[in-house]
């Protein structure tokens, strides 16, 4: 996604004015809706400040000022105690749309869009025509006050005024005016954003001055977290665009050594394997559109798709047959899609063997479904989990390994030794190339081949969670709950190669939960790499994971409880559902490693909550019982006293002593 957006943006820049492009696409960058736009502005400036402070090893002290100037018209200032920006960098930081310090880096970071401060500048410029004012000092005694505008022709920031004064101060203050924005302290605005980011950044102090007064989100931890480490990209998370970026930056002299030194889990031995994969791809490319194609495909695949088409031609649509033939023609690029159909046909074969002809005829209509719907139907009605596993395994292995493929191609006389030698030379020449000369097609082939090979998951040591203890401190400070439990899980990987870790926490009682009309309800706080996600809650996999928990099992009546659930997903690459970057794509079927990990962590916290709640309940019951018991003691004493004509108090005293 990052690569795609970057490229698209670059292309667009050349053709349109930057301002026009921004206007058209600002919704994708978080500038949609008045309150959300203001939240995005605050987000960009505050995360820049946090990043700068952490980078320089400074405990962040951040001031946010929001001042109303008119209807939908606000002045915003964000000030930090960071390292300051050297004068010559200011146009770069605030000018270039894709300064790119964060893109293409395999590192856990707050932002992933590489548009940050420039977007803020553009938004100010297109809504008010005014520049941003930057006051900054590196602490050398000179304080610079500059105004920056975007030079739309050059796609560069431009300093329009500059003042220097002497003073002992270090940090950066950014001021700007914006229209088409609005502010309140509601659930989806800057206030809530700052409240939450302070929760996820316990080592920062954030002061907010808004039209309603001043709020301090204080520091609860006096130690800076360790910096995230840059990790080498793993082949499974790699895109062509990224590989080219790496090729441009690498110090390696050859593509093969670049792959070994820049990628995780790629070794010299694996390069030899890669050669065969590339060889196979080249041979396939050569035979494409030739009359021998079907023979080549039969060497390539373990199963005969064409025979399935014949076998099932009365049951599937003509369109489908045509689609599948097209897919065969477009191998190997279309392999993933072809596998979906292969799964359908293998499943159909299974059903045909299992069911009588009569039953099959009854099901006729279902066979016309597209593979996904067909599989959903089949799994629901006929397939056990074991069968589904087996079928999937078969499909996973429908491609022969490259050695077998080459041997068979040679056997069938489709290729001569000389031709093979020529291909081998070609592969070697790609791998021996200077990385800077790598072309898109070559890079694409390498990525495709790497991804069809088996690799161990990458190491996950570079991730930096907030830490369970810190989260608990933050939540205690913010919510004064009666109970809090946080847990940081060990890192794992998803999509085969992307490292991630999950942190969750539950706070119960006190100010936890969101105040509704009928008391406090469950509040879900979502974070991605410590940054709050305020929007698209219902589309977000983090929300879904929280909602999938049966909270009643943990002593709650349901979601009508004073409970705040905190979920932070940490990863070198967060799988957002869309460019808006407010919802994470994970569920039972998609990136389920993330989904299950969150559920698991929540259940662990839930068990602690359950223990706490039942202890509270038990204590309350015991107290209640004790009170009751004393009432019974009195009644008993009265009855016994009446029967025997003895004084009540004497008896009661003895009974109370016995019962206490």
């Amino acid at each position: 996604m990052v690569g795609f957006m970057g490229d698209e943006l670059f292309k667009e820049f050349k053709e349109h004015s930057v301002a026009e492009f921004f206007r058209k696409n600002k919704h994708m960058l978080g500038y949609s809706g008045k309150i959300r736009s203001l939240t995005t502005i605050i987000h960009e400036l505050v995360t820049n400040s946090l990043d700068a402070c952490e980078e320089a090893g400074i405990l962040p002290d951040i001031k946010v000022e929001i001042e109303k100037l008119g209807a939908d018209h606000y002045k915003v200032a964000v000030e930090d105690n960071g390292p300051g920006i050297p004068l010559e960098f200011i146009p770069k930081v605030f000018g270039k749309m894709l300064a790119g310090s964060k893109m293409h880096r395999f590192i856990q970071s707050r932002g992933q869009q590489g548009i940050g401060a420039a977007g803020v500048l553009l938004f100010s410029q297109i809504t008010t025509g005014k520049p941003l004012k930057i006051i900054t000092s590196t602490g050398d005694g000179n304080i610079y006050e500059v105004e920056v505008k975007m030079n739309v022709e050059k796609n560069e920031g431009e300093i329009v005024s500059k003042k220097v004064r002497k003073g002992k101060w270090r940090g950066t203050r950014v001021e700007g005016e914006f229209k088409e924005v609005s502010y309140n302290r509601g659930e989806f605005g800057p206030f809530e954003y700052l409240r939450r980011i302070s929760l996820a950044t316990p080592h920062a102090k954030i002061v907010l001055k808004d039209p309603y007064g001043e709020v301090v989100f204080d520091r609860v931890v006096n130690e800076l977290p360790k910096k995230p480490e840059e990790m080498k990209p793993h082949p499974y998370g790699l895109t062509t665009d990224e590989l080219l970026y790496i090729a441009r930056k690498t110090k390696s002299k050859k593509v093969s050594s670049m792959l070994v030194s820049e990628l995780s889990r790629v070794t010299t031995k694996r390069i030899k394997e890669l050669i065969n994969y590339m060889l196979r791809d080249l041979i396939l490319k050569k035979f494409k559109d030739s009359v021998f194609w079907n023979m080549v495909v039969s060497c390539y695949l373990n199963i005969d798709i064409e025979s399935y088409l014949n076998k099932f031609k009365d049951y599937i649509t003509d369109d489908e047959i045509e689609t599948v033939r097209m897919l065969i023609k477009n191998l190997p690029e279309s392999l993933d899609e072809l596998k979906r159909y292969a799964l359908k046909y293998i499943t159909m074969e299974y059903l045909f063997n299992k069911l009588s002809e009569e039953e099959i005829n009854k099901l006729k209509n279902h066979f016309k479904k597209i593979p996904e719907n067909f599989m959903e139907w089949a799994e629901k009605n006929y397939l056990s989990a074991t069968v589904v596993d087996e079928l999937n395994k078969k499909v996973k292995n429908i491609v022969k390994n490259p050695e077998e493929f080459i041997a068979e191609i040679k056997n069938k006389g489709l290729i001569s030794d000389e031709e093979l030698k020529k291909f081998e030379d070609e592969v070697k020449s790609i791998l021996n190339k200077n990385p800077k000369e790598l072309t898109w097609d070559e890079a694409e082939m390498i990525v495709n081949c790497l991804q069809s090979m088996e690799f161990m998951a990458p190491p996950t040591t570079g991730l930096r969670p907030i830490g369970a203890e810190n989260i608990e401190k933050s939540l205690k400070e913010l919510l004064q709950p009666d109970f809090v439990k946080a847990i940081t899980r060990n890192p794992k990987t998803y999509k085969g190669g992307i490292p991630f870790a999950v942190e969750v926490a539950i706070a119960y009682g006190g100010n936890a939960g969101r105040q509704g009309d009928e008391g406090r309800r469950m509040e879900i706080m979502r974070f991605a790499n410590h940054v709050p996600l305020l929007y698209d809650a219902s589309a977000c996999g983090l929300t879904k994971a929280v909602k999938s928990i049966n909270w009643k099992r943990y002593g709650l009546r349901g979601e009508d409880a004073p409970i705040t659930v905190f979920v932070n997903l940490i990863s070198t690459f967060i799988p957002y559902t869309s460019a808006g970057k407010q919802a994470v794509a994970c569920s039972e079927n998609e990136n389920e490693e993330i989904y299950n990990e969150i559920r698991h962590a929540l259940m662990i916290c839930g068990r602690e909550l359950e223990k706490y709640l039942s202890r509270i309940r038990r204590e309350a019951e015991e107290e209640k019982k004790r009170k009751y018991v004393m009432k019974y003691a009195r009644i008993f004493a009265e009855a016994l006293a009446n029967i025997l004509n003895k004084p009540v108090d004497e008896i009661e005293e003895k009974v109370v002593k016995l019962l206490e």
């Binding site: 009432k631 009644i635 016994l640 029967i643 025997l644 009974v655 016995l658």
Partner: protein, 369 residues
């Protein structure tokens, strides 16, 4: 006029004495710093054994103790309050129905009962713990007894003086046994008691003045007899040494529910078995053999009849103690039919009065134990 025996006062005096004893024991325990407790026999079949000699169930001696602990504080307070209430009833010579007792508890604050079953249970607990009938504690059943007619005088002391009911002078009506028979004095020179299952048959025999012809007391049972009816018959039986003959329908319900309850007691009140049961009672008809001998019109056995017989044969100590009953029930099972008392009307309405009952009463060998 015969002198009234002191029987009506005495059991109540004994009950009151027992209440005070129990209370004293609790008080002494308390003063010693010990937890007071109330022990009582367990009131379930697991604590009962059929004593063939005595002809009724006896307790095997399993006891449970209710101790004053945090968990039992409520029920303990309730039990003691009920004890106090019973003493009050006895001192004021008053009585309370079970339902009234439940409502009285509403005045006990937190120790009040939330439903009557719990209140009934506590009364039964006291009945068991003290070893006296609850009627002697002043608690009388909700249900009154059934009808009586025959050579019997019922003498009752009332504030207005002595009241005498002569059960031979009730016309076509009958004397209704009250809820509590404790205070009644009974005087009779009858030869035996005939207990009859249905009101219909009772009315027929009364109309024909059967009691006059055979010098017997007729009691209707109206199905499974109420406590008041059972105590009334038991007192007649014990105080005047009268044999008790029972005349039921010829079906498992008549034998194993109605007759069996009268004779050996019900499973529910096992702790009272020897205070309510009448082991000397005998069933004179309608027996399965009668169905054949008198060629009576029948109905097929219903599914629950068959189940009841099979269960009785297998599990009921009473049935298992009497080979005659095993034989009779197996016979009924083989025949697959049952007959009602009224089926004797096949031979005319007076047949039961003039032929069947006289024949049966005379021939002891046709009875069932």
């Amino acid at each position: 006029m015969v002198k009234l025996p002191a029987i009506s006062k005495k059991p109540r005096e004994i009950a009151k004495q027992k209440i005070i004893e129990l209370a004293k024991k609790m008080y002494e325990d308390l003063m010693k710093g010990k937890r007071p407790k109330i022990t009582m026999p367990i009131r379930s079949l697991s604590n009962a054994m059929f004593d063939k000699e005595k002809g009724s169930f006896t307790l095997v001696g399993k006891e449970k103790a209710r101790t004053l602990t945090v968990n039992q504080a409520k029920i303990f307070a309730q039990t003691t309050k009920m004890l106090e209430f019973a003493k009050q009833l006895l001192e004021t010579d008053d009585f309370s129905t079970l339902r009234e007792a439940y409502y009285v508890s509403k005045n006990w604050g937190e120790a009040r009962f939330d439903d009557q079953q719990a209140s009934n249970n506590v009364i039964e607990d006291l009945e068991a713990a003290l070893g006296v009938l609850r009627e002697h504690l002043g608690f009388i059943p909700e249900e009154d007894g059934s009808s009586v007619v025959g050579p019997l005088k019922i003498i009752e002391e009332t504030p207005e003086g002595e009241l005498v009911v002569d059960c031979t002078k009730l016309g076509t009506g009958a004397y209704n046994i009250p809820n509590d028979v404790t205070k009644l004095n009974l005087e009779t020179d009858a030869d035996f008691i005939l207990a009859i299952e249905t009101s219909g048959m009772f009315a027929r025999l009364n109309a024909e003045r059967f009691w006059d012809k055979h010098n017997c007391i007729l009691v209707s049972l109206k199905g499974v007899p109420a406590r008041a009816t059972r105590r009334f018959i038991k007192r007649l039986h014990e105080e005047h040494d009268l044999p008790v003959l029972v005349f039921t329908d010829g079906d498992p319900y008549g034998y194993l529910n109605i007759y069996r309850t009268l004779k050996v007691g019900s499973g529910k009140a096992i702790h009272l078995a020897d205070k309510l049961s009448i082991p000397a009672a005998r069933l004179i008809g309608v027996t399965p053999q009668d169905i054949i001998d008198y060629d009576l019109p029948t109905h097929p056995l219903k599914e629950q009849d068959i189940k009841r017989i099979k269960d009785g044969l297998k599990n009921d100590d009473f049935v298992r103690s009497f080979p005659e009953w095993q034989k009779a029930l197996k016979q009924m099972l083989d025949m697959g039919v049952r007959a009602e008392q009224q089926s004797l009307a096949k031979y005319g309405l007076k047949y039961v009065v003039n032929t069947y009952l006289p024949e049966k009463i005379k021939d002891e060998s046709t009875w069932l134990p």
